[in-house]
């Protein structure tokens, strides 16, 4: 009996040392005790896939096809506009070769749109352009040249609405394109909010 207790205690100490406690940090993949169907061989969002030769589960559209929701541009080829609905003004900010002014009929300006724009501006734009749009966001502390555009100055005020939309979509200078993360409606919402900021700014 004495031996039994001794052995159990020794083993216990060893096991406890190995097991540790709940919540301690570890880097290896968590073990799954009953792995039945936990990991299925199916296509999962943003996950690799062994099924495709390039190993990527996210697929690009097959050449010559257009995904649902993407319109075909005038020349018959696939539309170059990503995350949009087509070649019309609401999706491009352009009429022919020129920037259009005014808001597209699909996205009329109302309080809800401006409010949405305020929220999206805070999320996506304020880091660089500042909460008030003055071009002094938190990022200005980390890069020095060239300064971020001040959205309140007269140069930007004179931009047609379509140009601001186009700039959000494609970027400009050091600013990258935001067509992958901000939906078309939200881009127009941001344009409306930028206009509101400009109206309320002290000259």
């Amino acid at each position: 009996m004495r031996w039994f207790i001794l052995i159990v205690m020794l083993l216990g100490v060893m096991v406890l040392a190995g097991v540790g406690h709940r919540g301690q940090k570890f880097t290896s993949r968590p073990i799954e005790i009953f792995p039945d169907m936990d990991r299925q061989f199916k296509l999962k969002t943003q996950k690799p896939s062994e099924f495709f030769a390039d190993g990527s589960g996210s697929r690009k559209p097959v050449a010559g096809t257009v995904p649902i929701g993407f319109a075909v541009a005038g020349d018959g080829g696939p539309a170059e506009f990503t995350f949009s609905h087509g070649p019309e003004y609401a999706s491009t900010g352009m009429i022919g070769e020129y920037f259009g002014d005014g808001f597209p009929t699909e996205y009329p300006v109302d309080e809800a749109l401006i409010e949405r724009g305020r929220e999206r501006f805070k999320i996506n734009c304020s880091m660089c352009h500042g909460l008030s749009g003055n071009g002094v966001g938190i990022v200005s502390k980390y890069w020095t040249l060239p300064p971020t555009a001040n959205l309140l100055d007269s140069r930007v005020q004179a931009f047609p609405d379509g140009q601001i939309f186009w700039t959000i979509t494609h970027g400009k200078g050091l600013m990258g394109p935001y067509n992958g993360t901000i939906a078309v409606r939200d881009r127009w919402a941001i344009v409306s909010y930028v206009r509101a900021l400009q109206k309320t700014a002290q000259p």
Binding site: R22, P30, M175
Partner: protein
């Protein structure tokens, strides 16, 4: 006939029973402690291809979760950012473009670099439900459940780790008592939100607008209660008509 069994064997059956029971108890205790996501998943902190610091980006710089996890409100899947999103700030001529930590990003994005492969950064997924459990992010964040309820204080993590068990009972605890976790919709990505921060007047005005009751009536009914998380959550649950499903098909198809 001499004694076939010596005297000490008298206690042998009892000792055997005690030993087996003790061993059984120890083993079941060990299993109960370790064979649960509280042990197997909580604390999982894999090494990422880029040591992205959430506490720096989300806390110090004050970035919103949705700058990177941009479709969490539209999609069942809370997306990792496309490499372009990282590149918007860490591209050539911008913030720390030459940092060795960003090597994987340059391989994915910088076509002028000799290491360019065009392969996306292979982030390691930390929070992973089984493939037969379908969690919808948009349904939760659009109904007042903050990121922090399932992911913990990510805004304070230098390296992200699995903070909550995400077991089935963890899901059901909330689905049975959702008033414990609901908060105003504009505070979803504010992981430091506290009930004390809520502006009482604005909150009751919002409730009155949603429920059609009078502001004063609502305030009067609550006059003897403490204005805490549970009260806020309870009101929101009622105003939004939140009935979290508890049947199997809610999550399993």
């Amino acid at each position: 006939m001499a004694n076939l069994f010596p005297r000490w064997t008298n206690e042998l059956p009892l000792k055997a029973v005690v030993c087996v029971a003790a061993l059984g108890g120890i083993v079941s205790g060990l299993v109960a402690y370790t064979a649960t996501p509280k042990y197997t998943r909580v604390g999982y902190m894999p090494e990422q291809p880029i040591p992205f610091d959430h506490s720096l980006h989300a806390q110090q710089l004050g970035m919103d979760c949705r700058y990177c996890h941009s479709f969490v409100e539209q999609s069942s899947h809370s997306n990792l950012p496309a490499d372009q999103v990282c590149w918007n700030c860490h591209g050539p001529g911008k913030v720390k473009p030459d940092s060795p930590k960003l090597q994987a990003l340059r391989e994915a994005m910088d076509e002028s670099s000799e290491d360019y492969t065009g392969r996306p950064v292979a982030w390691v997924q930390i929070h992973e439900t089984p493939d037969y459990a379908y969690f919808n992010h948009s349904a939760h964040v659009n109904r007042g459940v903050s990121c922090v309820e399932c992911h913990g204080q990510v805004n304070e993590m230098k390296v992200v780790y699995h903070a909550k068990p995400l077991s089935m009972s963890f899901c059901l605890d909330c689905h049975r008592n959702s008033e414990k976790v609901l908060r105003p919709l504009d505070q979803i990505t504010n992981l430091d939100w506290k009930a004390e921060d809520v502006d009482k007047d604005a909150f009751y005005a919002y409730l009155a607008d949603k429920t059609g009751k009078g502001v004063e009536d609502l305030k009067k009914a609550d006059s003897h209660k403490t204005f805490d998380r549970l009260l806020i959550g309870g009101h929101l649950k009622e105003a939004w008509n939140v009935h979290p499903p508890q049947d199997c098909t809610a999550c399993h198809r």
